[in-house]
């Protein structure tokens, strides 16, 4: 008893110390709904299976079946009765109990005539599901079904509670170790730990799945630490780079997805076996894998995954042989080829693969017209209406060879022999017999050249090297989080501090991008911003008082009036531009299938349902109070977002400015001193080069040399200031250099010109007359006077650097202000866009105003602009 209490306490402590563990996992596709029993989208299971929902049984890595909610089962000798013994004490996330009635409900619901279950046909042989006692269920079959246990391991047959089944599409409720927390459409799905889980408790407190469709953005997100892991990484070309980077761990495996060149047997030339064989001979699988997948992927000769024990390698049936392909085409009566369309869905394997396949088929005289489709179009035209000749698509479901036995399936293959094989397979539980039949199935598909079998899709996963226990290698392609956790920060033994460090490093990893949910953390940041703002206004006030005392209040009021008018017009312009941006932010957030009421509610919640003019004044009023509004996407104050990003952008701008000045001052000075001579001309050429070099290209070159080549610094990303000043500065050094170079060139030229200009002045002549040397004249007399234009340029450059980092931030994947705006534009987060732009305009206008005022103070002749 006592011991039990102690264990519980320890457990509690252990859980407490993990309380803040939160990770973000990147994924390419967003699920359309969150109910795996109602939609075939693989993304649903990828997120929810095993994490939120659980089935009676579970696939092992080799395709065999393990117990899950059913702790054991018996199969009658005739193979017609399956008796499942259920786990006890299991509860759904809403508190309802899991028992035999739930199993009966779930299976009956899936196989009911009105069921929309995508795998419904797999349960067709079930006659009845009987409740024996609360923890025993008997499944009775009409005839034997050798694949029944495998089928029950599918995501489509997870256990659902009668209370929540109808709302699972938007609020999934299961028995798993994580419970659903939030779905931010277009952005992420968040799961939190189920503290009442019946099995082994998980270590992570919160997991966000973030949807990043663009392969380059996926690369950037990993590099910038916006995500801790990426499931099914979509850019194979950069995979080796991550594999070589010690900050990341990678996994290159295989999936159950056969990528095929689907042929529509209903259209004349493709219904001809000889033509299909010719096409198979024309395909060079190696070239396709190299070109479309950068070498990742396993060639296949039939529709079957190579890692399955029953696999037969049939890639030799149709070796790449153009002559043979042409001969077959001629025999079939198409000596001069024919024309077809190739309709491609969006993934890069299809788009890139399509271009290569088209080129290969052209060699044997088949003229291919490529049509790129969106997924919705593809599903409609190709999959549903069979309106296509060829397509390239991956079939992700495990053990899905039976699709070739369906007459109405999209490629329209119909073979009695093949159907007989499938029927025989389903009629036996004998392992050896099943294996033999599976091999016959593969051979039959290859012999009939049903489709162009291209390659088994690779499974590429990348995650933070500190993240342990993340499991990707499984038959269903799900992200298994049951054992995932962050290792303790290496070498940090400061008790509580270490705990906090873990908390931060988990939330922010190496970027500040992901931790927006942490409300209390966010409070401290605007303070820094407010402090900076306060200092600026104090300086402005002092300056204004000086000016007012010297030139009178009216003069100052005029200048301030112009300033305010400029700012007002600027806010109006930005607001109008942003209003014109096409794309409804609410639609973007909620998706196309969104319920109209929900759309209206969100629109109201975001304040988008009022008239634009009213919205403008509301926003303006907020700005005056320092309230930038609330981000549509992140649902947190924009001020906090901006302050967050300024932690990167501000130090970067300052660093770049200092570097630029440090480089420009000596160059400008020497050039002025040696004006007209060789030294000046050489420096002039150098500054010309500096002006001509695009800063982002310089950034790329710096990465190539110092990160990829010499491994001195990382290729990009930002570790956060929590990782230490040195680490932060290290991450900003290369970007600062890239930003500073062109600015330094400008500054050096301005300084040279300004120095030379002052040389005409009387006081210089006086100094010379007194016998001062050239360098002394420049240093003591010319430089102080030349500093005015130089400081103007510096002031203007600062605001440029603050905003101009957009591209550089993209090169180095820094989570700065520029990238915030960029993401906000893509996500239609209008309020963020208009606030950041206005803030930058405000910075530029204010700096210019202050510089102008200090001029006037320094040189009262400037008061009347016409006197200049």
């Amino acid at each position: 008893m006592k011991r039990g209490l102690l264990t519980a306490l320890l457990l509690l402590c252990a859980m407490g110390s993990h309380a803040a563990e939160r990770i973000t996992i990147g994924m390419q596709l967003e699920p359309p709904i969150l109910d795996p029993t109602a939609s075939p989208a693989a993304a649903i299971s990828e997120i929810l299976y095993g994490n939120v929902f659980e089935g009676l049984v579970l696939f092992a890595a080799d395709g065999s079946v393990l117990p899950k909610l059913a702790s054991s089962w018996d199969i009658s000798d005739d193979g017609l009765t399956y008796t499942f013994h259920l786990e006890r004490g299991v509860r759904f996330h809403d508190g309802s109990a899991f028992d035999a009635a739930v199993v009966k409900y779930s299976l009956d619901r899936a196989r009911a005539p009105v069921s929309v279950n995508p795998q419904k046909s797999r349960l067709a042989k079930i006659r009845a599901v009987d409740i024996v006692d609360p923890y025993t269920v008997r499944v009775l079959l009409n005839q034997r079904s050798g694949g029944l246990l495998q089928s029950l391991a599918w995501g489509a047959f997870v256990m659902v509670s009668p209370q929540s089944a109808e709302t699972n599409a938007v609020r999934p409720i299961g028995t798993g170790p994580f419970r659903f927390s939030e779905w931010r459409r277009g952005d992420s799905v968040t799961l939190v730990r189920n503290t009442d889980y019946w099995g082994r408790p998980v270590e992570l407190a919160e997991v966000a799945f973030k949807f990043i469709a663009d392969p380059t953005a996926a690369y950037a997100a990993l590099m910038a630490g916006d995500v801790d892991a990426f499931s099914n990484y979509p850019a194979p070309e950069s995979f080796p780079q991550f594999a070589a980077d010690p900050r990341f761990a990678v996994f290159a495996g295989t999936t159950e997805m056969e990528t095929v060149l689907a042929l529509n047997h209903r259209v004349p030339p493709l219904g001809n076996l000889l033509v299909r064989r010719a096409i198979s001979y024309a395909l060079d699988r190696r070239a396709i894998i190299d070109g479309a997948m950068y070498g990742y992927g396993t060639p296949i000769g039939s529709h079957f995954p190579p890692r399955n024990p029953a696999y037969v390698d049939l890639t030799g049936v149709y070796p790449h042989d153009v002559a043979k392909a042409k001969a077959l085409l001629a025999t079939a009566g198409y000596a001069h080829g024919f024309s077809v369309t190739l309709k491609l869905p969006p993934p890069s394997y299809a788009r890139r693969g399509g271009e290569i396949v088209a080129a290969e088929l052209a060699q044997i005289g088949i003229r291919v017209a490529i049509e790129n489709l969106e997924w919705a179009q593809w599903l409609d035209q190709v999959f549903t209406r069979h309106d296509f000749d060829m397509s390239i698509v991956g079939h992700a479901e495990p053990m899905d060879y039976d699709i070739y036995a369906r007459d109405d399936y999209y490629f329209g293959y119909s073979s009695p022999e093949f159907k007989a094989l499938i029927a025989a397979l389903d009629d036996t539980n004998d392992a050896a017999r099943r294996r033999e039949l599976l091999q016959q199935i593969q051979r039959k598909l290859a012999a009939d050249a049903v489709n162009g079998f291209l390659f088994q899709y690779p499974r590429l996963d990348i995650w933070n090297a500190h993240l342990q226990g993340l499991e990707f290698d499984n038959v269903l392609g799900i992200v298994d989080l049951k054992r995932a956790h962050y290792d303790r920060v290496a070498g940090d033994g400061h008790g509580i501090r270490a705990n906090r460090a873990v908390d931060r490093s988990v939330g922010t990893n190496f970027g500040i991008g992901t931790n927006h949910g942490a409300g209390t953390e966010g409070r401290a940041r605007p303070r820094a911003l407010r402090f900076a703002g306060g200092a600026l206004s104090a300086a402005a006030l002092v300056l204004c008082i000086f000016v007012a005392r010297r030139f009178g209040g009216a003069y100052l009021a005029g200048r301030v009036g112009v300033l305010v008018a400029t700012l007002l017009v600027a806010t109006a312009i930005v607001f109008v531009i942003v209003q014109v941006v096409p794309g409804d932010p609410v639609r973007y957030m909620m998706g196309l299938q969104a319920d109209p009421d929900a759309v209206a509610a969100t629109r109201h919640q975001l304040g988008l349902d009022i008239a634009p003019t009213q919205r403008y004044f509301r926003w303006l009023g907020g700005l005056l109070r320092g309230d930038f509004g609330r981000s549509f996407t992140y649902r947190i104050p924009v001020g906090e977002l901006i302050a967050d990003r300024l932690q990167v952008s501000l130090p970067l701008a300052v660093l770049a400015l200092l570097l630029s000045a440090a480089i420009a001052l000596p160059i400008g000075f020497i050039a002025a001193a040696r004006r007209g001579r060789a030294g000046d001309l050489v420096l002039s050429f150098v500054t010309q080069l500096g002006l001509a070099i695009p800063n982002f290209w310089l950034g790329i070159l710096l990465v190539m040399v110092f990160a990829v080549g010499l491994h001195w610094v990382s290729a990009g990303g930002f570790p956060g200031w929590d990782a230490g000043l040195a680490a932060g500065l290290e991450a900003l050094t290369l970007p600062a250099i890239a930003l500073a170079m062109p600015q330094a060139a400008i500054l050096a030229r301005v300084l040279r010109g300004a120095l030379i200009d002052t040389l005409h002045e009387d006081y210089i002549r006086t100094a010379r007359a007194k016998g001062a040397g050239e360098w002394q004249v420049l240093w003591r007399h010319a430089l102080p006077n030349a500093l005015v234009p130089v400081l103007t340029i510096v002031g203007m450059q600062f605001s440029f650097l603050l905003a101009g980092g957009v591209i550089i931030e993209n090169v180095f994947f820094l989570p700065g202000l520029g990238r915030l705006v960029f993401q906000a534009i893509v996500q239609r987060d209008l309020i963020v866009v208009q606030s950041v732009v206005v803030m930058l305009v405000f910075a530029v206008v204010t700096v210019t105003f202050l510089v102008d005022l200090s001029y006037v103070l320094a040189n009262p002749r400037l008061r009347d602009p016409s006197a200049v």
Partner: protein, 277 residues
């Protein structure tokens, strides 16, 4: 007296002018040739030939889809020259009349135009260009507009400054005595004398336009595929730096060389003007 008129400076500057004009003309020439001929079709893929290092067949190598990099750079020059030139023309055609108007009328109109100028200058140019391309969609035409807008205040300011000086000259006074209106004088007498000044500014804006276009297409907001553009080539090369470093080299060198040529040309023109006046 010119501060550059000493020693060998003058000769070197003339050489720089010639070199600059040479480079500029070469790039414009390449852009024009690319309209009719490139060594390979920059749109044709050849996977077997992908990621080749520079060799005899492909002087600058091939990219990730086996396209000839030299051909793509030539076609990219077309895009670069086109976008930058058109954005200069937009800026000039709107900005110069505004500047002339401001100088001719002075007073409230001048103040309004110059304040408007300040306003545009106050916007972070790149951010606004991104915003514009986000509003109207990415593409070469919108890149031209986005860059062109920022050329307007530049030309307005330069034209106004130059015109203000010319308005003090005798010939404008004579024209005024002859009863010509201020805008007529602006176009008949002031503008012809500003051509040199505007040409210098145009060259500078041209070079800035080349860099801006590369930047916009680098972030995916410039010309869309399959139109080759230097910026997008750099973007696509970035994840391949470990495999094919030259892919990230040549498009950048093209930008660098072209901009350098334009700057040298602009500088040289400016000094010639300085000498003749």
């Amino acid at each position: 007296m010119s501060v550059f008129g000493t020693r060998n400076g003058s000769g070197t500057r003339r050489a720089a002018l010639i070199v600059g004009a040479g480079i500029t003309c070469s790039f414009v020439g390449i852009a024009m040739i690319a309209e009719f001929w490139t060594p390979y079709d920059p749109a044709v893929l050849s996977i077997i030939d992908r990621l080749q290092a520079p060799n005899l067949h492909h002087w600058l190598g091939t990219d990730q889809l086996g396209r000839d990099v030299l051909s793509m750079i030539m076609a990219g020059a077309k895009n670069s020259v086109g976008v930058a030139l058109l954005s200069v023309i937009i800026g000039g055609f709107i900005g110069v009349p505004l500047g002339l108007l401001a100088a001719a009328r002075r007073g409230a109109i001048d103040e309004l135009i110059m304040r408007g100028n300040d306003l545009v200058f106050a916007f972070p140019s790149l951010l606004l260009a991104i915003l514009i391309t986000a509003v109207f969609g990415p593409g070469a035409v919108n890149a031209i507009i986005a860059i062109g807008i920022f050329n307007i205040p530049v030309f307005a300011r330069v034209a106004r400054g130059g015109a203000l000086q010319l308005w003090t000259r005798d010939y404008t006074l004579a024209a005024r005595v002859a009863g010509k209106g201020s805008m007529r004088i602006s176009f008949e007498h002031v503008l012809p004398n500003l051509v040199g000044l505007l040409a210098v500014q145009g060259t500078i804006q041209f070079s800035l336009g080349v860099i801006a276009e590369a930047g916009l297409s680098y972030v995916g907001l410039g010309a869309q595929p399959p139109t080759p553009s230097w910026g997008r080539m750099l973007n696509e090369a970035q994840t391949l730096t470990a495999l094919a470093p030259t892919l990230a080299l040549f498009p950048g060198l093209a930008v660098l060389l072209f901009v350098l040529g334009l700057n040298l040309l602009g500088d040289g023109l400016q000094h010639r003007r300085g000498r003749t006046e």
